[in-house]
């Protein structure tokens, strides 16, 4: 410890009255405490501020359209008629596609890393998957529009249309021309984006399984798959669901990558191959052109709806993860 970094209050006040020095020390002590408390309260105020400011901004739209705002899919700036249904629909459908693909694959990677991977490769592969989470959303967007969209248009979408599209009933979901852009493309890009989150959390919770439990199962002759299916996943179920909800929160709020590949059509189509929009893509895409008044207010209302949806999902995720922490702490 160097002399300069020693408490200034002490060295300066040494010749002075002892009570005075102690008084200063006490003041510095309590003001530091108050400062940390203040900073912590700012964090609390941020969340409240987000909710309140968005609600205030959204109020004109809510009071003008009423509850119908949630169920109307018309979005027409010239006529000043706005509804959130198309955006909510797109947000939910892209998130479902992302979860259906991203969750099993992400968990598969976690199983690979915790149970199957040779120890020397565990670290490099783990880091590589985490890098996938580090790549900024806009990079997924530019990559999606230059490489993934043409691939979808040329190969995957024609394939889906000719196979699944021919089945009566389900076929309606895969109808229409192969545009490349669309809800399905956005869902796939989202799936890749949430992969690393699912993997990271599944891996963390898988590691809370006591080794004795796994060894006991291996000891009575269980296969790796049986250990994972009968010991690891049941033991960590709550945590895995929490992690899945956390990933869902990400998928619902993701903006830039989706904006690039979803096509930004402001109506609902039955086919998931057709163009659509999500709440966040709609806001990112239209905010710059929005006139103050009902248009801007409607976009803020969309933001408020997104905030409420993600808040509920994330709160549920945290609740489940904290239950697992309690369990692991015992």
């Amino acid at each position: 410890m160097t002399a300069t970094s020693m408490p200034v209050t002490m060295s300066k006040t040494a010749p002075m009255d002892r009570a005075q020095a102690l008084g200063r020390l006490k003041f510095a002590d309590s003001s530091f405490r108050v400062m940390t408390l203040g900073a912590a309260l700012v964090v609390l105020a941020l969340l409240v501020g987000v909710a309140v400011s968005l609600f205030i901004g959204a109020w004109p739209a809510f009071s003008h359209f009423g509850i119908g705002f949630l169920f109307s899919d018309s979005w027409s700036p010239p006529k000043e008629r706005f509804g959130a249904a198309a955006a909510i629909y797109g947000t939910v459908v892209t998130a479902i596609i992302a979860m259906v693909i991203g969750v099993p694959v992400g968990m598969g990677i976690a199983v690979f890393l915790t149970e199957l991977c040779p120890p020397t490769l565990r670290r490099p592969i783990g880091i590589a998957i985490e890098l996938l989470a580090g790549i900024p959303s806009i990079i997924y967007g530019i990559w999606g529009v230059y490489y993934f969209k043409p691939f979808m248009q040329a190969y995957l979408q024609p394939f889906l249309i000719s196979t699944l599209g021919a089945i009566p009933g389900v076929g309606a979901l895969f109808a229409g021309p192969p545009l490349g852009y669309g809800i399905f493309t956005a869902g796939l890009v989202l799936a890749v984006m949430i992969l690393p989150f699912v993997t990271a959390i599944s891996r963390d919770v898988f590691e809370t399984v006591p080794t004795v439990l796994k060894e006991a199962a291996y000891g009575v002759g269980a296969t790796t798959f049986e250990v994972v299916g009968s010991i690891v996943i049941p033991y960590t179920r709550v945590g895995v669901i929490g992690g899945v909800m956390l990933a869902l929160g990400r998928a619902l709020g993701e903006t830039m990558a989706v904006t690039f590949v979803i096509g930004n059509a402001t109506h609902i189509s039955t086919s998931i191959l057709s163009q659509g929009t999500t709440i966040s893509a709609m806001i990112a895409n239209q905010f710059a052109d929005a006139d103050p008044g009902l248009f801007t207010s409607s976009l803020l209302a969309l933001g408020f709806i997104l905030f409420i949806i993600t808040f509920l999902v994330l709160a549920a995720a945290r609740f489940m993860l904290s239950r697992l922490e309690v369990k692991a702490g015992r």
């Binding site: 996938l132 806009i138 990079i139 529009v145 890749v192 619902l252 966040s280 994330l314 709160a315």
Partner: protein
């Protein structure tokens, strides 16, 4: 009794192959994206990129104003979020601990940690753009600060809770008041951990785009005035990637390569630092 063994073995083999396939799938995407970035971005790397301004189509331009703008906005964001995050994290780990208030704040911080960045952007628009009547780099910095503060709060709290209590008790027994125990003993013990948190926060801010659309807006001119609109790398990528002009598209890829290289090297560096810490224990 039927022989279950071949069936169990087969099922195990199938699931093992699927787990391998999942990992290959994840790595494939990383390879494809990084490959595309390098393939398209490296060719455009030249001195012009770092010395010239963004230009209208037809004129040879660079990314200087965007790079400087990104640095300024990130610096503003960090100047707010680093002290705020470290102090709030200190409260959670040192003063609040198991209190009710600390639990509420911990929960709120976790929500903010994964809140959609576009919502944060709208909040800052309402809070810092509407009252002043114009977009500004300052508002962009505030938006980035809101996004990065929870990261710093989280790492600070996690790191401080690793400090052994005996260390604190030893300092207290010498008569140090609580604040000095924290500043002189606890902070020193976790210095590399705090830096890791700050590096992760910078990495997150560097690639963030969505909130900047409503706060910083973008600017094709060079400016160092934080009260006005300013250019930024992610914003210029967003704009140029959708441009019909090949030279602008090329610059978008080069910008994307620069951003990704910065973000990934920051997060790898942060990881190496925290790994060294873990090994040293």
């Amino acid at each position: 009794m039927a022989n279950l063994y071949p069936g169990r073995k087969r099922r195990n083999a199938i699931w093992t192959v699927l787990a391998y396939a999942a990992t290959a799938f994840g790595l494939l995407w990383l390879g494809l994206i990084l490959g595309a970035l390098i393939w398209n971005g490296v060719g455009g790397l030249s001195l012009d990129v770092f010395t010239k301004m963004t230009a209208p189509p037809g004129v040879v331009g660079g990314l200087l104003n965007s790079i400087v703008g990104s640095l300024i906005v990130t610096a503003i964001g960090l100047a707010i979020s680093a002290p705020l995050g470290i102090l709030a994290g200190t409260y959670l780990a040192e003063y609040g601990r198991y209190g009710k208030l600390a639990n509420v704040i911990r929960f709120v911080n976790d929500i903010l940690l994964s809140a959609p960045s576009i919502v944060v952007g709208l909040f800052v628009y309402q809070f810092c753009v509407v009252p002043f009547g114009h977009f500004s780099a300052l508002a962009g910095g505030v938006a980035l600060a809101v996004i990065s503060t929870p990261i710093i709060v989280r790492t600070t709290e996690d790191m401080l809770s690793l400090v052994p209590n005996t260390l604190r008790e030893a300092a207290s027994s010498l008569g140090m008041p609580r604040s000095l125990v924290i500043q002189q003993v606890a902070y020193r013990a976790v210095r590399s951990g705090l830096i890791t948190g700050i590096l992760l926060a910078i990495a997150r801010m560097t690639g963030e785009t969505a909130p900047l659309i409503f706060t910083e807006l973008g600017n094709s001119l060079f400016t160092a005035d934080p009260t006005g609109p300013m250019s930024s790398l992610p914003l210029i990528i967003y704009e140029f990637a959708r441009s019909p002009y090949p030279e602008q598209q090329k610059l978008a890829w080069t910008g994307a390569l620069i951003v990704t290289a910065a973000v990934l090297s920051l997060s790898i560096f942060a990881r190496v630092m925290s790994a060294q810490r873990g090994a040293g224990k």
